[in-house]
Symmetry: C2
Subunit: 208 residues, 2 copies
DNA sequence: TCCGTCAACCTATCATTGATAGCCTATCGA
DNA sequence: TCGATAGGCTATCAATGATAGGTTGACGGA
């Protein structure tokens, strides 16, 4: 029984480059999606990868650090999804609307990723992540800011050069979209109206 | 050292009616607010109340049940805060705006309560709460629905009798407001614009 | 060819956590 | 006065995140 794990480690593990880290992250994300963040244990992750539970700590300093890394990845994926849509030329209003739609589609297609990025109760696990130097340079925050910057840029194009107004509008519109997807994701049991009609109305009300 | 706990239990505990349950909930909420939900242990709650950790289980079936109860309370408090404002006579548009403002004010004044109600990753702890009968009658969901009903009613007054449209608008506007407060609460570290101006703009954009 | 180094892994083990078992005690109605 | 009951306690469990210390195998210079 137990030796199976060691066997699997040699059969499975060594053959793929040195990307155990990525392998662990993939397994963790899959488990998070299946059972919900709080129900996943380090032993389950280790077993899914085919290594022993303490071996995780050769790649991550703590369980929270795994979550933090996933958080960074999720932000990056969302930013990329938006960037792809924004790259297509269009009027600033149309681009904004497309970006919002891409945001919603991404979140609903990858609810676990979105959950990890935005609904992590305590992303402080990353406090000590990149802080080899004195400055506590938080990679999760940075990834989030980069993601928001994508959103902000399109808003700036839309409303012109009033900086503070642009920032306020960016934050307000972002909250508008986040509110819907986070509730749709987190509250399955709620008696939602028809999802597509709800989204369309929500997007319609994005105008300003 | 240890006997102190027993002493305190007799000094503190017995004197207050039989409301140990409420006492536990208060202590738990306070701790949640101080240290963040995930960092609070049953032993800390017990110590704060002045009883031993196993004694909690005489009042609650599990730790999740404590959180679920707090969730119900928080929904009720929010609903009450809205009801108080809605009771004041005004035009339907003005009432809606006041209710939204009351919602935001409540959430920002009681961030821990709002967090417990809406940002509980896993309110399944209540699955077995009221289900003595076969029907799994979920009190948390019910409290949430009651709270939403408050919101919905004002929307109905505002938009008239198109039922589905009213429901969609109610859900969309609720998401609009929830998005802002949940982000403001959960993302302290984000470089927010001036809070009051942001809120005002967000409320302005509530119109439809 | 041999040996030191290093990364990745393992087993054994901790302290802490939520939860259960079983006993004690004070209060209260018959 | 006495049994029942509510509420509490200590002792203890299994599971969890984390650490300690040893083992293996690849790789590079003597």
């Amino acid at each position: 029984m137990i030796e199976t794990m060691a066997d699997q480690a040699e059969a499975d593990g060594r053959r793929r480059g040195g990307n155990r880290r990525a392998q662990i992250l993939d397994a963790a994300l899959k488990l998070f999606a299946q059972k919900g963040m709080a129900q996943v244990t380090t032993r389950q992750i280790a077993q899914a990868v085919g290594i022993s539970q303490p071996s995780l700590y050769a790649h991550f300093r703590s369980a929270d650090e795994i979550a933090a890394e996933l958080c960074v990845r999720a932000f990056a994926a969302l930013a990329e999804a938006m960037a792809r849509v924004v790259a297509v030329p269009a009027g600033s209003d149309e681009r904004l609307r497309r970006m919002a739609r891409a945001y919603i589609d991404f979140a609903l297609a990858q609810p676990d990723m979105y959950r990890v990025a935005f609904m992590l109760e305590d992303p402080q696990g990353c406090k000590s992540l990149g802080a080899a130097d004195g400055l506590s340079h938080d990679p999760v925050l940075e990834a989030g800011l980069l993601c928001f910057a994508q959103w902000h840029r399109v808003i700036v194009e839309h409303v012109g050069d009033d900086d503070e107004r642009a920032m306020i509008l960016a934050q307000s519109t972002w909250a508008h979209i986040h509110g819907l997807v986070s509730l749709l994701i987190a509250r399955h049991e709620f008696p939602w109206a028809d999802r597509e009609r709800l989204i369309e109305e929500h997007l319609r009300r994005l105008s300003f």
